[in-house]
């Protein structure tokens, strides 16, 4: 907001109580009486007196604020001149003071507007988590605040040294999908080192066409561009153009754009770090699972397959993203306790004897114990503990019945059984999918939760890929 400077007319200046008091006291001290008239000759201040004034002088506080001073006095000459100068001087100072205050007040209003915008937009951008939704929010805010039809947020890929569009509006579609190389001496210099760039028209800038690399068709317009940086490193570029009112950008709008870009850069970086942390976490878990799988070549990739199938069943059941994430993790680590089972038992080709079977049945407890060491994995320790429970209560280790075992455990049991039947084991060959499906159907309501069996069957119908994938993995 840029407010016009407000000049108070003489009438309002005279209505100021403090000024009026000072003027009255001055008149008393000087031994005169005086009146102030505005430019139209209307009386504004002082007593209306009959008779000719002893002295009349024009008052000119500014080209717009003018009037007349009429003094009635018993004296003349230098003393009257001095009194007249004094009153006129006071009016000028009062006007000047008020004008200055108004200027500052206008500035305060503008700053408040700006501060308010920044306060409002920060939480809106920061509430987004995915890079694309952050980008879209940033673009939407920029378009609204700067009143631009065309806004783009480019992401900078340092390794490839290219820019690509993360989010945009009003950009031709061929541009949104292309990668813009950042190489070339001048362009690179400007892209990587320039801070806020605001041009009243693109022809102003000798390197502009080079920088834009054909993204614009050469029409002249105002443009504002601001790099997004984290620790001085370029991560993106925010560009706004095609103003609805065609006016050049103001310094204030430049500041707002800088605030937007800074906020966007931090949020984007946080989202990237968060994503990387999550990926690292999952990959550490996968390493852990590979360690278990490696003990038994027959169960190679078993965890990954069970996890994939469990997530499909979970989706069929309509689980929320967070619940699916936990399910994926729990399924990946469900057999981690086998690390505590001696290898000769795991890879035995004959049937296990009673003692060996007792040890084998300990693996859910071993697993839960291992997982409860980690705060992040604690939640899924229970899921792992009960992944060999049965719906009829005949499972181990606790003999939980029906829905007493966690939902995730019941899903994993079903997926685990399917994978166990359809892959080769040390003691038998792999069997066809139909055998596994029939077996799971047969045991619905005894070994498995019927609700989950139904979801499993829907997965089998809708995802033939599960079958072929299992076949591939088995080979």
């Amino acid at each position: 907001m840029t407010s016009p400077r407000l000049e108070k007319p003489l009438s309002q200046l005279c209505a100021d109580a403090a000024l009026a008091r000072t003027l009255i006291r001055s008149a008393e001290a000087l031994g005169i009486s005086f009146a102030i008239l505005d430019a139209h000759g209307r009386h504004q201040f002082g007593p209306t007196q009959a008779g000719e004034p002893s002295h009349v002088r024009p008052l000119e506080m500014s080209p717009h604020v003018r009037g007349e001073l009429r003094i009635h006095a018993d004296f003349n000459g230098a003393r009257l001149c001095a009194a007249s100068d004094l009153i006129a001087g006071m009016m000028e100072s009062a006007h000047h003071g008020l004008h200055t205050i108004n200027g500052m007040a206008a500035e305060i209003c503008d700053n408040y507007e700006e501060l308010n915008l920044v306060y409002d937009l920060c939480p809106q951008i920061a509430s987004k988590h995915e890079p694309i939704s952050i980008g879209e929010e940033l673009v939407a805010q920029t378009a609204e605040i700067l009143d631009c039809r065309r806004v783009s947020l480019l992401c900078y890929d340092k390794e490839e040294n290219v820019l690509s569009v993360l989010a945009s509006r009003g950009l031709p579609s061929e541009v949104t999908t292309s990668k813009i190389p950042a190489v070339g001496s001048v362009c690179e210099e400007l892209l990587l080192n320039d801070d806020l760039l605001m041009l009243a028209d693109t022809a102003d800038h000798p390197y502009f066409k080079l920088m834009s690399r054909g993204a614009y068709d050469g029409t002249v317009f105002a443009i504002a561009r601001m790099p997004l940086r984290v620790h001085g490193q370029l991560i993106g570029l925010l560009t706004a153009t095609e103003r609805r009112n065609n006016a050049p950008f103001t310094a204030r709008e430049g500041k707002l754009m800088m605030a937007l870009a800074t906020m966007g850069a931090i949020t984007l970086q946080n989202s990237r770090l968060d994503q990387r942390l999550n990926e690292t976490f999952i990959s550490v878990i996968q390493c852990l699972c590979s360690a278990v799988d490696a003990k038994d070549p027959y169960t190679h990739n078993h965890s990954a397959r069970v996890s994939a199938l469990a997530v499909r069943i979970g989706r069929q059941l309509g689980l929320a993203p967070d619940a699916l994430r936990d399910l994926r993790l729990a399924a990946l680590v469900h057999d981690v306790g086998k690390i505590g089972v001696p290898e000769h038992i795991l890879s035995k080709s004959d049937r296990l004897d009673r003692d060996e079977w007792m040890v084998m049945q300990k693996h859910p407890e071993f697993g839960a114990k291992i997982l409860s060491q980690s705060k992040e994995l604690e939640r899924i320790a229970l899921v792992v503990l009960y992944h060999h429970e049965r719906y009829d209560g005949e499972g181990y280790p606790a003999g939980l019945k029906g829905e007493e075992a966690p939902l995730h455990s019941r899903i994993i049991t079903t997926a685990d059984t399917f994978d166990a039947i359809t892959t080769a084991r040390s003691y038998r060959e792999a069997r066809p999918h139909q055998v596994a499906i029939d077996e799971i159907k047969r045991c619905s309501g005894t070994q498995f939760d019927p609700m989950i069996v139904e979801a499993f069957l829907r997965v089998m119908q809708s995802m033939p890929g599960v079958r072929s994938e299992s076949v591939v993995c088995r080979l």
Binding site: K8, A105, I108, N116, L117, Y119
Partner: protein, 127 residues
Amino acid sequence: MAKIIACDDEPYIVQGLRYLLESEGYDVSIANNGIEALELIEKEVPDMLIVDVMMPKMSGFQVVQTLRCRPETKSLIIMMLTAKGQRSDAVYAREIGATDFMTKPFSPIKLRERVRSLLAEKCEAPA
């Protein structure tokens, strides 16, 4: 021309408010604290009072409570300025009978619009 009293102990804010509302053509008087505001209102009841919550000696809440006890200011339009993040202030402002509130730092554009619509509502309401 509607008469508005702006009351805040921060001189910059009160000058900003005065400037903003005078630019709109309102007749604005300034009060630097709650006591001054009450004195001004006793002399002449304005069309609207804009008052900050956090002020030394007498808080904005006390000003509003005092005014609501007096018959002549029972239905005076009062907008309170509350601090950002003090949600409870806004709730309390409503409870004690403030007509409206805005959080600081307020948007001058929005404040101007709010003042305009509050005064328009008053004009429409039967006397």
